[in-house]
Amino acid sequence: MSSKTKLAALVLAGLGVALSGCARLDMQDQPKYKPQRPSEFFADGRSGRPELEGTVARGEMQEDSAFYSGRDEKGDDIAGFPIAVDKAFIQRGQERYDIYCAPCHGRIGNGLGMVVRRGFKAPPSYHIDRLRNAPVGHFYDVISNGYGAMLNYAAQIQPRDRWAIIAYIRALQYSENANVNDLSADVRSKVPAVGAPLTPEQKAAEASQPLVPKDPDFYNFPAEPATPSGVPGARGVGAYKTNQPERK
């Protein structure tokens, strides 16, 4: 091997090393579909195909109408849960509620969630009589199909979780409307007497936790027009103006 060949080989080897550093390996991108990968084959450019009308995927046959629609045979909202409710179920509901509902409805269901504070139309509090007395099927219907400004959450929350959330909403409604006498005696003894003046510490603690943050930057967002221009095709948005649409 002449020294020239050696040099050429070294240069080539060096190039190879340099290239191997920046170029991705050839099998790193394979001509196959992975979730959400674009497709050149389908006109809409998606590899994930939408379900055809009337398709029932395996294991998704929704025969239990009460469970899957929240309505009985007559089409009225069901009043009782179509599923057994226990503590774990409510806790699951709490977790899901905090993920999907709390942004607007607030952690305690008062309708003052973070998104609402940023300008979204405030939903009603759960702690009004109308909702306290509404059948559970009503909540199920709202989650599944949307209501007012709220779009449906059918894709984000699975039916079982919807019921869990409803169970948790019921718990919220109960706790926000609880009477001190509902507490067991030993717990009640720790609660300050009703009507008793707050201690200075309690006052300070309350003042330091305002409902609305005092940080001036908190609301520092460009002002949006009060009248939404609407998003064409968005279900529920068009009905927003009437605020309380007739259902069905």
Partner: protein, 217 residues
């Protein structure tokens, strides 16, 4: 015989050998490691251009929207899922509706055409990865994706090198957290990880999956 070389040739010849050895051996090797392992090659920390400058820092950091609000697939599927446009519209039907920045979102919703997001965490296609099992076994979002709540534009927090994957697969107890804190950003273990980690590994029955076919199948 006249001298072929000047006396300076001696030091030149010797130093050139030393330099050649250094350059080819040491520097070559170091350079290789540097290039193969650099953020240039792995694209670590490299914020990607997106059709809409979506800010996790805003949505997660200041609004406190939970990861799973959008990434609904993370618990039950291999893929965390970039949310459909509909999920954006949940709020942006009313907020920022006149913003030109968000026009592509409305456009997408009108026309039913996908927004072409740029994939940030792009594993090689010969790697099988499943989000759900990691979430189930208590691997926090933050462990791989970093402080997403502080990322104005999404970037790849980890190198995504195989070495990096193995770091956790070989020593899961150093990284796992209780399941309820999986999506928590800035999580601090309540007790030292040295004692909590092994406890969780036992409780969640976490195995040290190091075989090739764990990921390459």
């Amino acid at each position: 015989m006249p001298q072929l070389f000047k006396s300076s040739a001696n030091s030149f010849a010797r130093s050139s050998i030393v330099v050649a050895v250094l350059v080819l051996g040491g520097l070559g090797g170091a350079l290789f490691e540097l290039i193969a392992d650099s953020s240039y090659a792995t694209r670590q920390g490299d914020a990607r251009e997106q059709p809409i400058p979506f800010s996790h820092a805003h949505h997660v950091g200041s609004m406190g929207i939970e990861c799973r609000y959008c990434h609904t697939g993370v618990e039950n599927g291999p893929h965390a899922m970039v949310p459909p446009t509909k999920t954006c519209i949940n709020c942006h039907s009313q907020i920022w509706i006149n913003s030109s920045t968000l026009e592509p979102v409305r456009e997408s919703y009108r026309t039913n055409e996908s927004i072409k997001w740029t994939k940030v965490h792009d594993l090689p296609d010969f790697v099988y990865f499943n989000h759900s099992i990691h979430v189930k076994k208590g691997v926090g979002c933050e462990t791989c994706h970093g402080r997403v709540d502080r990322m104005p534009l999404m970037y790849q927090n980890a190198s995504l090198e195989m070495r990096w994957c193995l770091e956790c697969h070989r020593n899961p107890e150093k990284f796992v957290r209780p399941r309820q804190f999986v999506t928590k950003m800035g999580y601090e273990p309540a007790e030292p990880q040295e004692t909590l980690g092994p406890k969780l590994v036992r409780e969640y029955n976490i195995q040290k999956l190091e075989t090739c076919w764990t990921c390459h199948r």
